[in-house]
């Protein structure tokens, strides 16, 4: 195997009296940890690498929003151009016709203005909104993914490590959360927060803040990550290396974060990637239904919602943000799957078998 030239048993298992051959392997072999092997396996997965590239492109695309807005489109995401005229080639066209039909995609016909047309009778630049909306959507997805993951890891560790009543309280609470109809409850919470805002002590959220959907999404996705992590902690807690750490005088915190957490890393990474994708879909659904990102701010979900009104005349207005969501979620899912295959030693066998190669390495975990 190219990535691991040292079969496990290459070194004789200890000759008596310490007469072990000293480092008979190549120099490069010495520091190859599980991360290196996982990286090698991931790189071999061409599809996952390609979709990782796509995801990075999407990130670059949304990060370039201010550049495009100031230098190409000369407008902001929330600026309206209802009554303005546009010089396209030689002719002059209205951004929004008197009947209320927004202009279609101009590409570079107007020097980059209204590249994808205008979004509605308000005459906002669709391309600029798409880029800024992507920022919002990705920001919500990633931040709520972070919040979810951190909360889920802490809850999973506590529940899985302490067991007993700690586990009972955490696990039952998560069960309750899980049993709620997520979307309905999310809409209800989102709408009520969007109307009334939120005030807990010094923390204050105005209704239009994007932290409202972030909060709603984070709360409802925690059980989906915390449960599998709890299960894994339960299994890891039985391992002898945990007992060994305790026998050496390690405290609970040390055992949880020093011994168990590193073994959760692969699970956490995979769940994080998949969670972002999930959250973006959740955000899109909430925003589409008016319970997520509030106007005039754009997100891909709100853009679909606005475009839906003009589906018959300007179908691209709904399709383009829809395709962006699709591509982002698809790339995250494929990257997540690729990460899981690369990080999970059991998946390795499947990968090798698929590639028609036989690997005789112990499936030592």
């Amino acid at each position: 195997m190219a990535f691991d030239p040292r079969p496990e048993a290459a070194v004789p298992a200890g000759a008596p009296g310490g007469a072990l051959p000293t480092a008979p392997e190549g120099v490069s072999a010495s520091d190859r940890g599980p991360w290196y092997l996982a990286y090698k396996r991931f790189v071999r997965n061409r599809v996952a690498v390609a979709f990782l590239g796509l995801f990075i492109l999407i990130i670059v695309f949304v990060l370039a929003a201010p550049v495009w807005a100031t230098h190409v489109a000369h407008t902001g995401p929330n600026e309206t151009h209802t009554l303005e005229k546009l010089h396209v080639g030689g002719e002059i066209r209205e951004v929004v016709t008197p009947e209320g039909k927004p202009i279609g995609p101009q590409l570079f016909g107007a020097g980059g203005k209204f590249f994808l047309g205008a979004d509605s009778r308000l005459g906002r630049d669709e391309m600029v909104r798409l880029m800024y909306g992507g920022r919002t959507s990705l920001f919500i997805g990633i931040v709520s993914g972070l919040i979810t993951t951190i909360a889920a890891v802490i809850l999973g560790l506590l529940a899985g490590y302490y067991k007993g009543w700690v586990d009972a309280i955490i696990a039952r609470t998560l069960d309750v959360l899980w049993s709620l109809p997520v979307l309905l409850f999310g809409i209800a919470l989102g709408v009520s927060l969007a109307v009334g805002g939120l005030k807990i002590g010094p923390l204050e959220l105005s209704g239009g803040s994007i932290w409202v959907p972030i909060l709603v999404i984070s709360i409802f996705t925690v059980p989906y990550v915390a449960r599998p992590i709890r299960g894994e902690v339960l299994a890891l807690g039985q391992k002898e290396f945990v007992e060994a750490a305790i026998a050496q005088g390690a405290g609970s915190g040390r055992v949880m974060f020093g011994e168990i957490l590193p073994n959760l890393a692969s699970t956490i990474i995979v769940f994080f990637a998949l969670n972002i994708a999930n959250n973006m879909l959740f955000e899109a659904a909430l925003s589409f239904l008016g319970a997520g990102v509030q106007p005039p701010n754009s997100s891909w979900g709100t853009m679909i919602s606005i475009g839906e009104e003009l589906l018959t005349t300007q179908p691209l207005l709904a399709i383009i943000p829809g395709v962006m969501i699709l591509l982002t979620v698809l790339s995250l899912n494929i990257v997540g799957d690729g990460l899981r295959d690369a990080l999970d030693p059991r998946a390795k066998v499947r990968l090798e078998a698929h590639a028609g190669m036989v690997e005789k390495e112990g499936t030592a975990v």
């Binding site: 048993a9 070194v11 200890g14």
Partner: protein, 280 residues
């Protein structure tokens, strides 16, 4: 009996409750894993604890180390009572007693380098740090038959026997007085078993260690032990010097265990087989 006992265990009991219930668990029964065992180990000697799987040997080990709380009984280490000590109060004593685990694949954290695995206890107990730590760990690795170059490797790069050596190095890092070895060789090939047992034997002489050596194979234990205690269903059924237990077993269960030890000479083996059929 003038030798001082390093460890004295008296009437140690560990019962595991069997719980059942939908919302509120209630205890319906108990598993008497360890049911009142007593033994003592003089300083520098080895007590072999033998018994079939499920006889409570491992539970007894863990209870002695306070990895699980014993139900009742007394455990005195250097005369100090440690049964029921809190985790915090127990911490300084951890240096004095270490454990070697049964499964070399589960007892080393797969995400840590060997240097960390062996060195962490030293760092944790504030014994060494920096380059001194590295040097001490490398010396230990060499002492247990590995190479100092193995410092930066991960556990998955080692065979079972080598991993067990790492586990031994980790246990010895804190220079304990008592080492509890919970079936340290039962997961290994027979040829490697002998190497590990010889290593443990050498280390005992070198560092003046006291062993509580657990195994299910009485043949393995006989070689290294001064005394042997035979456990069956949570109780010690026979206890005596190694030779006495192996040569003149009193208990039926001990006899059964002894008869399971393979005899390298086929002629003798045949004699034993005929003997056992004649008595039955």
């Amino acid at each position: 009996m003038t030798t001082e006992n390093l460890l004295e265990v008296e009437d140690l009991v560990k019962h595991f409750p069997i719980k059942r219930g939908i919302l509120i668990d209630r205890e319906v029964d108990q598993v008497r894993a360890v049911d009142g065992i007593s033994f003592s180990i003089p300083r520098g000697q080895t007590l072999g604890l033998v018994g079939e799987s499920g006889s409570g040997k491992s539970t007894a080990c863990r209870a002695v180390l306070q990895l699980i709380k014993p139900t009742s009984g007394s455990i005195r280490f250097e005369g100090q009572e440690i049964a029921g000590l809190s985790r915090r109060r127990m911490r300084p004593l951890r240096r004095e007693m270490q454990m070697i685990f049964q499964d070399p694949y589960a007892s080393l954290n797969p995400r840590k380098r060997i240097g960390q695995i062996v060195g962490d206890p030293l760092k944790r107990q504030g014994i060494a740090s920096g380059s001194d730590l590295r040097k001490r760990v490398q010396e230990l690795l060499v002492r247990v038959g590995l190479a100092s170059e193995h410092y930066n490797r991960f556990p998955h790069e080692f065979s079972g026997g080598q991993r067990q050596r790492i586990g031994i190095a980790r246990a010895l890092a804190l220079q304990p007085k008592l080492v509890i070895a919970d079936e340290p060789v039962s997961a290994l090939d027979v040829s490697i078993q002998a190497q590990i047992i010889n290593l443990l034997d050498d280390l005992q002489d070198e560092f003046g260690l006291t062993y509580l050596f657990v195994a299910h194979d009485i043949g393995v234990v006989r070689h290294i032990s001064d005394q042997i205690a035979v456990m069956h269903n949570g109780k010690i059924v026979e206890h005596g010097s190694a030779d006495q237990v192996c040569e003149r077993p009193q208990d039926d269960y001990t006899k059964k265990l002894l008869s399971a030890v393979p005899i390298p000479d086929p002629r003798e083996s045949r004699v034993r087989r005929q003997g056992s059929t004649a008595t039955s």
